[in-house]
């Protein structure tokens, strides 16, 4: 032991200095542990935790967004189907309405035509009657002129009847 201490003493070993240096080292060890390594590692860990939390939140919100997008797409698809149905229905309805209106118009036109035909027939009959009457009067006038005498009621009646009888024949 003495030999070792003597040999070490040749390169300057002194246990008091060694102890002092060790205490000095322990002090700086305590200081750095307490004020540098500990707090900095704590800050680094805290930051890493926050970053991890942020990443987790980002992933979570991304999946939620994806789900919401899927849901929205589903709603849009459903709405599209419903809209198509509505359009189809309205198309059918309008077709039906148009058909109904067409039929109604047709009926009205037919009734108008029928009415017109009826009116034409009545007018035709009226015209025929008028014509007949006027023709008779003309004939009477012509006959009066030919006979040179005024036809009285009785004669007139007789002639008219004779003429009408000949006309019918």
């Amino acid at each position: 032991m003495e030999f070792i201490l003597e040999t070490l003493g040749k390169i300057g070993f002194d246990w008091r200095m060694g102890l002092f240096n060790l205490i000095n080292f322990l002090i700086i060890y305590w200081v750095l542990k307490r004020y540098a390594f500990g707090p900095i590692m704590k800050v680094i860990n805290e930051r890493q935790e926050k970053m991890k939390e942020g990443m987790d939140n980002y992933k979570k919100s991304q999946s939620e967004l994806q789900m919401a997008e899927q849901k929205a797409q589903g709603i849009i698809d459903e709405a599209k189907v419903a809209a198509n149905k509505v359009v189809e229905q309205s198309h059918d309805d309008s077709k039906q309405v148009a058909e109904d209106m067409k039929n109604k118009a047709k009926t009205e036109i037919e009734s108008l035509i029928a009415q017109a035909k009826k009116n034409i027939d009545i007018d035709k009959q009226d015209m025929k009657d008028t014509l007949r009457k006027e023709t008779v009067e003309l004939v009477v006038l012509a006959v009066e002129k030919v006979l040179g005498e005024r036809m009285d009621g009785k004669k007139d009646e007789t002639y008219i009847q004779e003429i009408l009888g000949s006309l019918k024949a």
């Binding site: 390169i11 300057g12 008091r16 240096n21 080292f25 060890y29 750095l32 542990k33 540098a36 680094i44």
Partner: protein
């Protein structure tokens, strides 16, 4: 002169500047105290300014600390142990690295007190490297005892059990156990040697660096000493790192259970 470098070869022993109650205070101790004070101030500043959103200074400190943490975890092969050992390995690197570099600042070694250089690199004093190395080896012994128990730790060196079980199985295995027992005794010397290898490596490098700087300054006035100073700067940081890395390696070996080694 401010920008001068002592060309006289430094004595191997640190020079005593004065005594306080019979306690000699050497120039290396003085610079060690100054380094401790500066690092304490810096640590307090770091503690005060540590924020979640870091400043440039804090970022630099964080990068360095994460570097130590990565290195320590890698050597110890465990993030948990790496975290536990980070303050010690980090302190070795920061304190030794900073002390080594401090003495290389131009002019630092030119201050004298009573004809003696006032400042000397703390690691250029065997007292510093030896005491810290001894402390570290004692710590590794303690860590080993915590891991495998007191008798388990002694069993690493006195492998008597292996001799008995070996001879029970046969003469060949018995002799192998005997060799293992002798090797275990050598391990005691190896543990002691670790103290000297750790301390002398750092001390030798730093002292040789200073001697070489003196020699080169005497031989060449220009360029070469500057290059050597630059190289010394690199060695100063590297040796601090080697000391820290070896500490981690010794600790790792100490906390490894014998069965894990066999596996």
């Amino acid at each position: 002169m401010w920008f001068q470098y002592s060309s006289d070869p430094a004595p191997v022993k640190p020079e005593t500047l004065f005594e306080i109650f019979g306690m000699p205070i050497s120039n290396a101790m003085l610079l060690g105290i100054i380094a401790t004070i500066i690092l304490t101030v810096l640590a307090v500043v770091v503690r005060k300014k540590a924020k979640l959103v870091p400043s440039k200074f804090q970022t630099a400190v964080e990068v360095a600390i994460e570097g130590f943490y990565g290195l320590t975890s890698q050597i110890l092969n465990s993030k948990e142990t790496g975290k536990k050992m980070l303050p010690l390995i980090g302190t070795i690197f920061v304190f030794f690295g900073f002390s080594n570099v401090m003495a290389l600042f131009p002019g630092v070694t030119s201050f004298t007190y009573d004809g003696v250089t006032m400042f000397r690199t703390p690691t250029n004093d065997f007292n510093m490297t030896f005491s810290v190395a001894l402390g570290i080896i004692l710590l590794t012994q303690y860590a080993s005892m915590q891991t495998v128990g007191f008798f388990g730790h002694l069993g690493k060196f006195f492998k008597i059990k292996g001799v008995f079980t070996g001879f029970r199985q046969g003469i060949g295995k018995g002799f192998l156990g005997l060799i293992d027992f002798i090797l275990g005794l050598f391990d005691i010397i190896a543990e002691l040697a670790k103290v000297f290898s750790l301390s002398l490596r750092l001390f030798g490098n730093m002292y040789a660096g200073e001697i070489m700087a003196g020699v080169l300054l005497g031989a060449f006035a220009l360029v070469v000493p500057s290059v050597w100073l630059g190289f010394n700067l690199f060695v100063a940081v590297l040796q601090a790192m080697v000391f820290g890395a070896l500490t981690a390696a010794y600790y790792s070996l100490a906390v490894t259970k014998p069965e894990e080694v066999e596996e």
